[in-house]
């Protein structure tokens, strides 16, 4: 069986078939990488000389924050695909990703608060990064609420896609507005590919593994939830057909 283009996966049946084979691999490798990354990070790295053992929350905080933003990015892409090519799987994937992304945002905010307490002496500060994550959380809330509120599936997909596009622009705007509004406590990005001075290697490698684990976990969750959505929709269609026939 050869596939000519990526779009063939937009066929729900093919999507289910393919993910049937792929999903166990993704799920297990997610579990494995997460286990390795977190255990390595928590138990086999030295304490930071100033932060002590609290530094270890970085293995949850940074990957969750990474996925919180990337989940929205993924929703943006799938929304665009829905608007342009009208593949139902795409819209359902966006719907499936939203709660996952929201939970990631919550994890990032909570672990950040737990980390901030001993380090900055406060659970919360109106720092630009913290504030923009809070706003991102509100965007997720609105997006999910809109999906839930509309009964017609296609209408809901259309409206939420447009909300996602408009919301992305405003989320970016807010990000810069908040920067302008208040100078922060949060350090700048300490991880980037082109910088010489990153986090020290002892912390960096387990962090990389943990980030890979979160990415895999996100993919696995989104695939799983998309399959559930497809099946739920198919079930509704079957039930409706049965009622029509009877």
């Amino acid at each position: 069986m050869s596939l000519n283009s990526l779009w063939e996966y937009a066929n729900p049946k093919k999507f289910i078939q393919t993910t049937d084979r792929v999903l166990p691999w993704v799920a297990w490798s997610a579990a494995l990488t997460l286990l390795v990354g977190l255990v390595w990070g928590f138990f086999f790295t030295p304490d930071d000389y100033r932060q002590g053992s609290t530094v270890k929350i970085i293995y949850l905080h940074v990957p969750a924050a990474l996925m919180a933003i990337n989940a929205w990015l993924m929703m943006l892409v799938t929304s665009l695909v829905w608007i342009v090519r009208r593949h139902h799987v795409s819209a359902l994937a966006a719907r499936a990703a939203a709660p996952v992304g929201m939970i990631m945002t919550v994890i990032a905010l909570l672990t950040g608060a737990i980390w901030g307490q001993p380090m900055w002496g406060t659970w919360w500060a109106w720092d630009p990064r913290l504030t923009s994550f809070l706003i991102l959380f509100l965007f997720y809330l609105g997006y999910i609420a809109l999906w839930e509120a509309i009964e017609n599936d296609d209408t809901a997909a259309d409206l939420t896609s447009i909300l996602c596009l408009v919301g992305s622009v405003f989320a970016l705007l807010s990000r810069y507005a908040v920067n302008f509004w208040n100078q922060g406590l949060h350090q700048g990005a300490s991880l980037s590919l082109d910088k010489e001075e990153n986090v020290a290697d002892v912390f960096w490698y387990p962090l990389l593994v943990a980030m890979a684990g979160f990415v895999l976990l996100f993919i696995a969750l989104v695939l799983m939830r998309t399959r559930t959505e497809i099946r739920a929709r198919r079930m509704r269609a079957l039930l409706a057909r049965e009622r029509m026939g009877a």
Binding site: G142, A145, L146, A149, I162
Partner: protein, 218 residues
Amino acid sequence: MIALLTRDIRLAMRAGGGFGLGLSFFLIVVVLVPFGVGPQSALLSKIAPGILWLGALLACLLSLDRIFALDWEDGSLDLLATSPLPMEGIVSVKALAHWLTTGLPLVLVAPVLGVLLNLPEAGFLWLTLSLALGTPALSVIGTFGAALTVGLKRGGLLLSLLVLPLYVPTLIFGAEMARRGAEGFDITTPLLLLAGITCGTIALLPFASAAVLRVNLR
């Protein structure tokens, strides 16, 4: 389009509620704040620009669901959609009517309420100017939110949930401009950014609102 505009304004003025409601809400918010934070005039004058901006924003929010709801219920929105007017035009006129009946009165009473909050003298001009610049953006963004939720039975709460995050940049720059004006700092940067947001939303958002409305009328 002008006929639609005058019709909307007349409806808003005569149908009761819409016109005075936002203003009275604004008044009540401003009156309640001193009860909440205490009557010290130094404190009040410090937070006055922010309170006035927040009050205006909430008053604006309150009247958003009226933009399309009535026309949706009695079917005139369908009539408008089948008329030769482009949907973008309808949406823009609706936003303009909302601003004229809600935003503009808020801008005009804001200085009066500023007196109640002991706003510093230098702040009056900049507060009024920042509201005059910012409230059109609030109306346009709100029209988008109203278009999103028009078909829903209990859209009011959802509307606020959707629109409030979108209001963040406008509020930040508007309140910042008013605050800097009141404290005698340079206001150029927030002024330009606020103007940029308003122009950008007016130019681009009607297309999104029109697309959303077309989906909802399908």
